[in-house]
Symmetry: C2
Subunit: 361 residues, 2 copies
């Protein structure tokens, strides 16, 4: 990113972009088109709604947290009929319940899913959720913003019609780029949809990308950075990166439990994206996060929405190794002890390292 900005209408950019798109195919595990937008991941989500649907059409949103609710907000902004299969924040969506809901409804244009619900730490089973959606003739649309590159997403093998991701999570790049993979069935639907779209319209971007060009001036420095970062990811190996994330998750949960804290996110063996932890009674969660940030320069994520102040989250997606986790655990331990919380001292870091090292993935 510190390199000179190259001109996006010149050959340098085309070479960079061609390489990046080919690398991304390996990460999305797809032969579908992958479009790149200069936008937050939310822009990529909006592109799916705007390009696939017409006002009045029904979509089913499977929602169990902050980002599931975002799908509903976008769909409502476009005048869609939103049917929510809503779970409590922190619950894991059930493919069987989705099948029942789709059966009751009779039909839906699309099912909008969240792979990693960053607000709660839950990773949904996209492969299983996609099945009833496909059977009901609905397109499978997945927010994979915080999951792509951290946990498996088999776009083609699982029949994911649209997968949306962003640069800033497991793709290890600063925020500002959204990625959208689009299946042939989704392209067919898009050809008939009537919602307005210009910046996020798919077809002009696809046409430009055929020549490794962009419709509008892209965030060139971020594109350069993303190319390097996905190169690093492929060099590590996608399976190896998934395994590393699994082991980071185990290490984090082992440390948290050793301290005597309660997990908010599920204590599942392969949870790998973010670990949400209940704040002990009598401790102010917002203050805890702020004090760890200010005193130690360590950034934890606070609770969002109804979980504000009640949980804190330790992220472990992307450019992380186990010592980032032990550092976070050590800081949490110190800050909680000083806040007078009743926690076990001196064991979290050791347990975390053991869990990381001795795990058969």
């Amino acid at each position: 990113m510190a390199e000179p900005v190259i001109h996006h209408r010149a050959r340098d950019y085309r070479e960079l972009f061609e390489r990046l798109l080919s690398r991304l195919e390996g990460i999305f595990r797809t032969e579908n088109d992958i479009l790149l937008y200069t936008a937050s991941g939310t822009g990529g989500m909006e592109s799916a709604v705007a390009n696939l649907c017409s006002p009045g059409e029904r979509v089913v949103v499977v929602s169990a947290g902050y980002f599931g609710e975002r799908w509903s907000q976008i769909a409502r902004a476009y005048g869609l009929e939103v049917d929510e299969l809503a779970y409590e924040w922190g619950e894991t969506p059930s493919p069987a319940e989705l099948a029942i809901r789709l059966d009751e409804l009779g039909s839906a244009a699309a099912v909008l899913l969240t792979q990693s619900e960053t607000s709660t730490g839950v990773v949904a089973d996209i492969e299983a959720l996609a099945e009833p959606a496909r059977e009901a003739g609905a397109l499978v649309v997945v927010d994979a913003i915080s999951s792509l590159g951290a946990v498996p997403l088999e776009t083609d093998a699982w029949g994911v019609d649209v997968a949306v991701s962003g640069s800033q999570k497991a793709l290890m790049t600063p925020p500002g780029l959204a990625l959208v993979s689009i299946s042939p069935a989704a392209w067919e639907r898009a050809a008939r949809a009537s919602s307005p779209a210009y910046y996020f319209a798919w077809e002009p971007v696809r046409k430009a990308q055929e020549k490794f060009d962009a419709t509008f001036t892209p965030a060139v420095s971020l594109v350069q950075a993303l190319d390097v970062a996905v190169g690093l990811l492929l060099e590590e190996g996608l399976e190896e990166a998934f395994d590393r994330h699994v082991r980071l998750g185990r290490a984090c949960r082992a440390g948290i439990k050793a301290m005597g804290l309660d997990l908010f996110s599920p204590d599942e063996d392969r949870s790998a994206v973010v670990t949400a932890v209940r704040v002990p009674d009598d401790v102010d969660g917002q203050m805890l996060v702020a004090s760890i940030r200010d005193r130690f320069g360590i950034t934890l994520a606070p609770g969002q929405g109804p979980l504000k102040g009640k949980i804190f989250r330790i992220g472990h997606i992307g450019y992380f190794d186990v010592f980032d986790i032990t550092t976070a655990l050590a800081a949490v331990e110190l800050a909680l002890a000083e806040a007078g919380a009743d926690i076990e001292r001196g064991v979290a870091v050791t347990r975390a390292l053991e869990a990381f090292e001795h795990t058969v993935v």
Copy 2:
């Protein structure tokens, strides 16, 4: 941009964002709200259309090049009735003709203007064009993407309701951020408009910005860079920057004319953004730009649309001094001489330096 990415929901970001927004007010010369989007400038343009207008409403687009036509495309994508006051590429829009057109039409929701038509090098007289628009009760909406910070834009004094800009031109930052200033009258109109908008919706961004927060994950590293760059611009002084741009334009045109080349953009004393030059007969303009890029590492801009191959453009907006201009001129001179064009050798650089040094702005 090489600094660590800061968390956009934490205090560091709020302090940065507050300072940036206050600096931008000085550059937009406005007390209006200025919203920041992670997007190309085109995204900011779309936000104006989507937030201000309802399907079927009439807008007048004043168009004299590639970017004027973009306004029409966006407005049509949103189902607006587009009335184009269209000029040949390279012509300068006439305020009197706009007044007549508005008079004929009776009413229009908005007039969509382009301050610097980068495709041709023409800078329109926004102050004069805004007057008939205001008198007709239309909102004044200006694409100031390649002009803000290079030529005067008096947002409040000229009654500009919406000014759109981007990070990557005179604001001297890599691409990826769009800026939109919004007058009270535009907010009123936006409250009644019915086009769908989510990512580009104005109201949620305004609310978030009240607390120096963002609706969606912003391109943090670009925000950090923009803050530094607009700090540099204000340190130089806005008037001083305008003067520097005027002198760079004069230097560039003096050099081009000294070589015996024809200007495509107007030979106006205060032209300051980009200099468009006719490619001599028997020279391939695309090849010329490519060869200067490949041999010398100097990036000129090719012609766009109907001007493809017929012109090349020397940019002088933003982080430029006169030696960037003389370098470009020297390369053009060498490349054209080698291509067999009949040009005057050995005078362009000297004339350019004279024009830059001896000019009373």
